[in-house]
């Protein structure tokens, strides 16, 4: 279970307050207007922004003091998820060992992960030779290898077409189910939220509300959300 206990974080003149629990295995959307603090929340959990107060924990183990790479999570950004100068295999291999000194067995794991995302045989290519959808798959293959219980998605697949995006979300759902991942996804798209998640967190002017069922939230949004959704 992910716990944010009376967390407060400040970025410039903006302050975020968060107190919530996300049950293990849940898939939760993070919804809110631009500037409401969605990305700040993710940065806080991922370790790019230190909290001023409060505690962040996974299964009771606090991790707010850990560097980003040591936290029990993987993250997929909007873009720039791959290093352009590294091969696909190396980009994925970073999920196993950040120093890239892989043994034969680990090379095998990289190949298997690529196979699982439908990119068998792509090891030696460079990211620039791949389409946007394929690049996202590489990032997911790396998530598989990191084997961390929590997956953060920061407006993922935004550059992909609707069909491709649905396909990627389905792949995320499939992977999350199989690996038992807890997923937190910042999104602007109500249909993405409905497609992937059963619960949603509404963030409004720096205040993070506790998760509620996604459909209920979107069907009957509070005033602030309604304006944002254009309803």
């Amino acid at each position: 279970m992910l716990t944010l206990d009376a967390v407060r974080a400040t970025q410039g003149s903006f302050t975020l307050h968060a107190a919530l629990h996300v049950p293990k295995g849940a898939r939760v959307a993070v919804i809110g207007a631009s500037g409401s603090g969605k990305s700040t929340l993710l940065n806080l959990i991922a370790g790019f922004l230190p909290p001023n107060a409060g505690q962040i924990a996974w299964d009771g183990a606090p991790f707010a003091q850990l560097p980003p790479g040591d936290r029990p999570l993987s993250i997929i950004f909007q873009d720039s998820n791959l290093f352009p100068h590294l091969t696909i295999a190396q980009n994925v291999g970073l999920g196993l060992r950040p120093n890239l000194r892989l043994n034969a067995k680990e090379h095998g794991e990289v190949a298997k992960a690529l196979e699982q995302v439908g990119l068998a045989g792509f090891e030696a290519r460079k990211p620039a030779a791949l389409s946007g959808g394929q690049q996202s798959r590489v990032a997911l293959a790396r998530v598989l290898l990191r084997k961390q219980p929590l997956l953060l998605l920061d407006e993922p697949f935004a550059a992909l077409g609707p069909a491709l995006r649905q396909e990627m979300l389905a792949l995320v759902a499939q992977i999350a189910d199989r690996e038992g991942l807890t997923v937190l996804m910042v999104t602007h798209e109500p249909q993405d939220a409905r497609a992937l998640t059963e619960m949603s967190i509404f963030v409004d002017e720096g205040v993070v509300h506790a998760p509620v069922p996604t459909d209920a939230l979107l069907d009957n949004p509070p005033e602030a959300l309604r304006a944002y959704l254009g309803q």
């Binding site: 991922a46 980003p68 993987s74 950004f77 720039s80 352009p84 100068h85 120093n99 620039a128």
Partner: protein
């Protein structure tokens, strides 16, 4: 982002910074410590200060202003021989002073091509000697550097940005306002500062083309204090004033600089269009003529003797080559930790230390090192290692100038991803930073090698006759009336410097995906 601090590289960076402080202020201190009594400055010294600032300011201003259209033309046009042109345009920067002066005179002198053409066209000839000559020479030396620095900034703009601009139907002036001006605000002050600093320590060029003692710079006053008066306290005082001027220039330029607003692009090259093709063609042609004609004069003067030089000159050339390679490698070894430390500590002071050596007087460094080393070892025996070290320190500002912004971009574009993956310490350096720094590092190393080839002066006090370098051999030829052979040696120096630069720069660019 305190978490990004990587202790090892920060300690290494601090060590490099300490070494640079020792080489600059340490040597200055050593000179001051050996001085007897205190000397005041005379009116003529203050005139030298004034002239130094005036010519350095104008030289830097003209160089960066001219570099804008040139860099833009090079950035948005691709044509056959573009890479070679960029390399060759860099040549003036690494020429030994006296060779460049004679090359310039052959073109712009009383009987030079330029005035011959003017007279033929029925116009009054113009004189190269005077402030205009000093500026001409400094622009000749530094326009290529300014162009390279600006060009790097231009190429760092993601192709997507240009694609967006052309899709929005941007005109040239829209482009200027929305893309190029922000870029220039970011790159110009730094380029201006570097060139200002280089020109403050100019000496022989300023005097030779300045037409008389009005063109006296601080460095000349330092030389006079050393060689003619042996007044160490005055030399140290003047060197301190030189530092002060440079520090002021540096602070001003850092203050004006805005941080980069350019985002990451996956780097698929996108053709950059826009602007008038004919205009770019005219600009590139004019600059090529200006920069290449003096070089061609040197080539034509040296071609006859380059293959028939005394054997010792070739030996000196070979020695210079490996000194240059060693200096280039050392430059890289010093630059990376310093740039990392500056970034991690977010301290402009650390980066500022990297630029100290431009402001330093080679004479003071040489003398200070002599004073420091003499108590423990024979400086003559250490002449080459000292030369390598000092050359590396002198080249460091240029490498740092190329590496620092690139490093900042890497951290901005990939820092979060690397953090999220736990890419820290040496692994981050090996897997992320060094591969992505290859281009600026190759450029920096190439520049260091070329500068090292052409360098002279630091070890004038204790040259080792057994270990003569090519520039020293060149001066010996000139001093022995053997001007034809000196031009041959100059051409050899030019060819070797350019080759080294090209090899390193090429190595940095080969097989780089994005």
């Amino acid at each position: 982002m305190a978490r990004r601090v990587q202790p090892v590289s920060t300690y290494l960076g601090a060590a490099v910074a300490a070494l640079l402080v020792l080489l600059t202020f340490g040597t200055l201190g050593a000179v001051a410590w050996r001085a007897e009594g205190l000397s005041g400055l005379r009116t003529s010294d203050w005139l030298a200060v004034r002239f130094t600032v005036l010519q350095a300011f104008l030289s830097a201003l003209i160089s960066v202003l001219l570099a804008i259209p040139v860099a833009r033309a090079l950035a948005r046009r691709s044509f056959w021989g573009r890479g070679a042109l960029i390399t060759i345009l860099g040549a003036p920067f690494i020429l030994p002073v006296i060779v460049a002066v004679l090359g310039l005179i052959a073109v712009f002198g009383r009987n030079g091509l330029f005035n011959t053409a003017l007279v033929w066209a029925g116009l009054e000839p113009v004189s190269i000697f005077g402030l205009q000559g000093v500026l001409l020479a400094h622009v000749f030396f530094n326009l290529p550097l300014a162009t390279r620095l600006l060009l790097q900034g231009w190429l760092a703009i993601p192709g997507e940005r240009f694609r967006l601009a052309s899709s929005l139907g941007f005109t040239s002036s829209d482009m200027l306002r929305h893309i190029e001006l922000p870029l220039l605000r970011q790159v110009l002050p730094g380029a201006f500062m570097v060139i200002f600093l280089i020109c403050t320590t100019s000496f022989a060029v300023a005097l030779a083309l300045g037409g008389g003692p009005r063109a006296t710079t601080i460095e000349l006053a330092i030389y006079q204090a050393f060689r003619f008066d042996f007044d160490l306290s005055k030399a140290a005082l003047l060197a301190l004033i030189q530092f002060g001027l440079c520090a002021l220039a540096a602070v001003l330029s850092l203050w004006v600089t805005t941080p980069s607003g350019q985002g990451a692009g996956l780097g698929r090259t996108v053709p950059r269009h826009g602007g008038a093709v004919w205009l770019d063609a005219v600009i590139l042609s004019l600059v090529s003529i200006f920069l290449l004609l003096p070089l061609l004069m040197i080539v034509s003067k040296g071609a006859g003797t380059i293959l028939g030089l005394p054997e010792s000159t070739y030996a000196a050339a070979w020695r210079s080559v490996w000194v240059a390679v060693a200096s280039a490698l050392l430059t890289v070894l010093l630059t990376v930790p310093l740039a990392l430390a500056a970034l991690n500590l977010r301290m402009r002071l650390v980066e500022g230390i990297g630029y100290l050596s431009i402001a330093a007087s080679p004479l003071v460094i040489g003398t200070g090192l002599f004073i420091m080393v003499y108590r423990w070892a024979d400086p003559v025996g250490l002449a080459l290692p000292i030369l390598i070290l000092v050359n590396a320190a002198m080249s460091l500002p240029f490498a740092l100038r190329a590496v620092s912004p690139a490093l900042a971009e890497i951290e901005k574009d990939y820092g979060k991803l690397a953090d999220a993956l736990g890419l820290t310490g040496m692994a981050r350096l090996r897997i992320l930073i060094l591969p992505r720094l290859r281009r600026p590092l190759g450029f920096g190393a190439g520049l260091a090698a070329a500068l090292s080839m052409g360098d002279l002066g630091v070890i004038a006090l204790f040259a080792d006759p057994e270990n003569q370098t090519l520039p020293l051999a060149l001066y010996q030829l000139m001093n022995a009336y053997r001007l034809d052979e000196a031009f041959g040696a100059a051409l050899l120096l030019l060819v070797l410097s350019l080759s080294l630069f090209w090899l390193f720069d090429r190595g940095g660019r080969a097989n780089v995906d994005a």
